[in-house]
Symmetry: C2
Subunit: 627 residues, 2 copies
């Protein structure tokens, strides 16, 4: 780098902004060409808007990214990573060397799409249509919880406006009056493989935005003055604002500007050289924009007073979903605990929290993607979100859950109405894939309590967990198995029946545990001693206890689960035993009872029988192993 | 039933319609009270609209549900099942006895939410926000493929308008000019746990609908004449129409009409008696509305001429995603094969099909939920849809895939860019959960070819599969392993290396198979003979070959997969061996290599090494088992 650093601190004039915009373009070209991949043209279209935002509107103390009064900047169009990384260079937190040698390289933090391994990145993006919904969660925190006037700026692509989740986000933003949320849509009219649906029909975008209750401002995304005025306008709104910036993909380099076929492709070395010449050469401008005023309100300290978990009488019949609500309401004594639900809080029992702490409950209505995204956004602000709906409907948000793991968000999900046990409502309402789905999430914790006590205890545990955690609850009421002093932890299990005479092990969780206990009674009547394990932690799984049981009972294991055969408890048991199997420490003879055919309606008992996971089937499976 | 049957054939007058509407209400109350569960009030709000539709607008030959010129009627608000079943009674295809003794009962077809076990039901609903997207697929078929003027009527709830998928559907309906699609939104203002977001703000709904390019007609949903006029108007539109019917939940029974707290609850016996009195008593009206005119166009016969699959030279490096596109283009010779993509067809290579058969390709843009729903709708019309996007982004549509299985739809999904192998783009673009997700779908088939030949062959196989099938393809190009005469089938595998001296089995699929082969070469150099299995069928899995290999190689199995540890190939192998394990036929010592930490960017080789699933790791795992 021959160019000297010219430093501009404070609000830059538009001529400086223009220079900065060209620098952002040059650096987007340089970094992606050097990496051999990336999205320079998607970066160049938004460079002008970002240059204005960075220097004149975004209030952010780059020396103190933890200042809770900083604005938030979320790149919903995460593929424009060259642009955001070039912005980080421009403010001096990333060096030119890192940009040129780290971008998209193994072991470096400037990944192909931004993730929170960078301190200035709130959430991982790259699956389109998620940054704006995440931002809604951040803005909810700002307006209702932090009560701090930071703004949440979101840079969206035009292609991603085809994702329904973007409209879930705008719907909720307007419902909650999130005037602190400002989305900028980079309408460069070209998607990955050709023109977008709406092209440059700015009026069509504006109609949709306004119809969803946000304010639409249409600007020429390459007119710095117009951009500046729109951003200033957005800062002073009573509603969420969407700035619709009409731009040209690849703007600034005539060979690619508004030309199809240049999505996600770096320029060749020759082209990059010509582009840099056309853009006026390399620059090394360093800028700093506004910072949050020292007297701007900061969020209040969160209080974590002692609370009393609900307790339950042994043998009393209590649904685990009921205990979820009661425990959540109790833990709500902590002022950083927040609950969200997708319009079924009277079924998930999140309503218990709502009644106790109405100011920390957000009704997301039937929009499960936004439900999870809001939780992610709340976790960005340090809150402890619990989001609930029917377990089956969390499948609606699987991409968001997957991305939450990449964001290393700490979110807690509760899915009620698991399995065929729900009965008459039929298969559309039955979660039969959720354990497989949630186990496969990177770093997740999957919990499936069988009684009210363990549910309440695990809800408390979840409050302290990192990453994505999931609690599966059951519709029906079953006997309380544990007294109030029993402890539960991820990776644990409970051996409920055990003796030296055990010849078979019955493993269940949720409703099937109760059937395992009943089966053990039947077997005892036949002179067979069965060990019974409550496998309440599906991930991590208690491999040691499983291996010990396998060794003690001749490898004879019966697993019964109210879930499809693939990837659920049976899979967890086998995969958990894999290292013992590898080392030859155990041998296993597994009878795996699970749902294998499409269920219909019926009573819970009829359906558990139909699925072959009820007491008589467990008894028969044990007998089979012992024959 | 004391009431005599009065039969009305042909277009009923409005007085008859009024009687029918009351009958539908009475029967909704009776059936749900008799079942002890269900949603009578959500049925009563829509009864007037349905009575008008059924008698005067829906063209449907109830004696011939297979008439391809019949209109389609999809209850997106599937919880209003008492209403649709009462309609089936009114046209005489379901008896009063079945309604009163079958509804929501085990083993009966009148399930809690409608499913296609009933011949008049196209798709399963009950997960809200899916019926309208499914209907878009049916309407696409009608307009562009069948070229038959049937109409697709969809009954939507107001709560489900909060689902982004509903707006994806309207967006695509307007983009494709689906004037044959008519949605009716039952705006009864009350959701499950209280008022909806927009209440009775009909203007707000209308603005959104119009902004998304559909025509909005607002009517009083209890004014039969107004409904009739709106339905007639909708039949004659140039655009998709959304009829916004302002209704009252529980209409017709004063104790529950427009009263909160009555969602999803049957009336008590006493209340039901009072309701029936207030509704004018039981009726037994039998009606038939219009049928498709005999001279209405029927779809043309689909042709399935012979075609030639692409072939590949052994050893040539070809990406499996490339072979997917080429094979799909070849199979496109069959005129019932249809392709869809989510704006990444130049990455998934669906573009090969687009170029060859542009009239049977639908660009869904970045809306994966609608992508899958459109495939479901096309399958309703008997087409053979293949829908493709990045495998990671199919997670966006998991609830739709789950519901497709309940619909018993025959849809084919192709997910490209699997695993860490994609390299520089980073984790947001890496499918690492997809095998777990797809395996857990009821009745699914999960295929993961390693080379171009097997990919092409499996694409052909998929065309003939029932249910949900999934093909996982790889970004990079790897050597062709199979000649053109090799055959592949669900449940199969290929033993690529085998001898009597084998002491360990290496199991891979996709990219890891190539590493297993390389590892076998390294081991051979050390005097170790390794069996190598291409496990291209992940579900069903070839349990017999796995068991045989386990027996032949002392139970020593190394599984390497480019997927998270849970529920993927390792799980498939273990679960596949479960019955052999149960019967004591094999013992297993498994070394399971999979992705266990959050990856970043890098080259494919760097990332496969990082994940511990590349050649040296496989070699070391085999050595470990042999020590």
């Amino acid at each position: 780098m021959a160019t000297p650093v010219s430093e501009v601190v404070g609000v830059a004039d538009l001529e400086t902004v223009r220079e900065l915009a060209q620098q952002l373009r040059v650096d987007s070209v340089r970094s992606s060409t050097s990496a051999g991949s990336g999205h320079p043209t998607s970066s160049m279209s938004a460079a002008d808007v970002m240059a204005v935002l960075l220097t004149r509107h975004l209030r952010y103390d780059w020396d103190n990214p933890d200042d809770p009064a900083n604005d938030h900047l979320i790149f919903s169009k995460g593929h424009a990573s060259p642009l955001i990384y070039s912005m980080f260079k421009a403010v001096g937190v990333v060096s030119d060397e890192e940009l040129m040698t780290g971008y998209r390289r193994f072991g470096h933090r400037l990944q192909g799409h931004p993730t929170p391994v960078l301190p200035w990145v709130d959430v991982a993006t790259g699956s389109l249509g998620q940054g704006l919904p995440d931002a809604v969660g951040v803005a909810l925190a700002g307006k209702f919880l932090d009560k701090t006037p930071y703004r949440v700026w979101v840079v969206c692509g035009d292609s991603e406006m085809a994702e329904g989740s973007m409209w879930e986000a705008l719907d909720k933003a307007s419902f909650y009056g999130l005037s602190n949320l400002i989305a900028i849509v980079d309408v460069n009219r070209l998607g990955q493989r050709g023109p977008t649906e709406l092209g440059w029909d700015m009026a069509a975008y504006a109609r949709r935005v306004e119809a969803f209750g946000a304010r639409a401002l249409v600007v020429d995304g390459h007119d710095l003055g117009a951009i500046d005025a729109a951003l200033a306008d957005a800062e002073d709104a009573a509603r969420p604002t969407v700035i619709l910036a009409r731009t040209r993909k690849g703007e600034g380099f005539s060979e690619v500007a508004d030309v199809e076929g240049w999505h996600g492709k770096p320029l060749t070395g020759d082209m990059a050289e010509r582009a840099i010449v056309e853009l006026g050469g390399e620059r090394n401008l360093r800028v700093r924009g506004p910072v949050p005023p020292a007297d701007l309100a900061r969020p209040e300290h969160q209080a974590r007073p002692a609370f009393t978990l609900p307790t339950y009488e042994l043998g009393a019949k209590v649904a685990s979903r009921r205990a979820y609500g009661q425990a959540l309401a109790a833990i709500g004594a902590w002022t950083d605990v927040v609950a969200l639900d997708a319009e079924v809080s009277n079924s998930t029992y999140a309503e218990d929290f709502t009644k106790a702490h109405p100011d920390r409950f957000f009704e997301i209505f039937i929009a499960e993607q936004q439900l999870v995204a809001a939780a992610v956004g709340l976790s960005v602000r340090g809150y402890v979100p619990f989001a609930s709906t029917f377990a089956a409907f969390l499948s609606r948000a699987y991409d968001f859950i997957r991305m939450a793991a990449i964001s290393q968000s700490d979110i807690r999900l509760s899915g009620s109405h698991a399995g065929v046990e729900i009965g008459a409502d039929g298969p559309s309402q039955m979660a039969l894939e959720d354990l497989a789905m949630m186990r496969a999430v990177g770093g997740s914790t999957v919990l499936y309590p069988s009684d009210a006590t363990s549910t309440a205890k695990l809800v408390e545990v979840m409050a302290g967990l990192r990453g994505v955690s999931y609690l599966r609850t059951t519709r029906g009421a079953y006997p309380v198995l544990y007294g109030p002093d029993e402890q539960f932890a991820p990776g644990g299990s409970k051996v409920l029946r055990s003796s030296d005479a055990d010849t078979v092990t019955l493993i269940g969780a949720g409703v099937t545990l109760h059937h395992c206990l009943a089966a053990a009674d039947v077997l005892a009547g036949e002179g067979v001693s069965a060990r019974v394990i409550d496998l309440y932690s599906i991930k991590p799984v208690d491999a040691a206890t499983l291996a010990e049981a396998a060794r003690a009972t001749g490898g004879r294991l019966v697993v019964a689960e109210d879930h499809y055969a693939e990837g659920g408890i049976g899979g967890a048991v086998l995969e958990g035993l894999a290292s013992a199997l590898r080392d030859g420490d155990v041998s296993v003879r597994l009878a795996h009872l699970s749902v294998t055919e499409l269920p219909g309606s019926g009573t819970p008992d009829e359906l558990l029988d139909f699925a072959g996971i009820s007491t008589p089937h467990i008894v028969e499976a044990a007998r089979g192993l012992l024959r």
